[in-house]
Assembly symmetry: C2
Homo-oligomer: 148 residues x 2
């Protein structure tokens, strides 16, 4: 019998992770996930909608929210809320924090994280911790220079 190429992993982890949360892999969810990975600039739901729409014109806003929620639920995407105004989405699940410029609203990934300091936090009995989010606020280099 000839050796048969093993079936290429079909979008492996995304499918698995969705399934693990009792969710299905759909073309829309796949598309939204791709959009996020393509340009990791912390887009808002609306930006994701526009980008996804350019590839998949029939997709609707409600679906984008549904997909984002599904991806967040199954741990493929992080929600980032830094200020009033639209929530942003980040497909980088590695430990990292976000720097938010209070002046111009830009967001930067900061690869170091202090959630290693995890150990330092003692929650009262009964709390179940899932995620530590660290947001740095201040001025980005441009705005800091102007503020002089």
């Amino acid at each position: 019998m000839n050796a048969v190429a093993t079936k290429p992993p079909p979008e492996n982890s995304l499918n698995e992770r969705l399934a693990h949360s009792g969710l299905r892999l759909t073309p829309q969810r796949q598309q939204v996930h791709e959009v996020l990975r393509e340009k990791m600039d912390h887009p808002t739901a609306d930006q994701v909608f526009m980008r996804a729409k350019s590839k998949m014109p029939e997709i609707s806003m409600a679906t984008v929210y549904n997909c984002l929620d599904a991806l967040v639920t199954c741990g493929m995407v992080r929600q980032v809320t830094l200020d009033r105004g639209a929530t942003r989405y980040c497909p980088n699940m590695q430990d990292h924090s976000h720097f938010y410029c209070d002046e111009c609203g830009s967001v930067y990934d900061i690869l170091q994280t202090i959630s290693a300091a995890d150990a330092g936090i003692k929650l009262p009995r009964g709390f179940r911790l899932k995620l530590i989010e660290t947001n740095l606020h201040g001025l980005c280099p441009d705005c800091a220079a102007k503020a002089k």
Copy 2:
């Protein structure tokens, strides 16, 4: 000449802090600040509006937002954004973090903080850091028990 009682410190630090940011102390700003300190349950702008309105019926929503912004700007209040949905406000400026229950949306103050780990974070050249915000996400004791 008789000794005259020295004028009692007039809302000292609030006034000073506002002034330091080029802002004036107004009855509305004072009221909003009082509302926040009276019940530190991380109210939304809308809740602050309702509470302030009960003491000062003519106050408007726009003013509440203005006052909250002023208080945040001068460092008397922290904005807390934990999820989609309304921003919350916290008049406790001591180092502390917030625990957010992803299930029921309740918020708890966690007095320990890891921002002492401040030292651990090295920002690229040019960034000016003002504040480290630590948000803990997970399940509160009630929801954790139910999730069993």
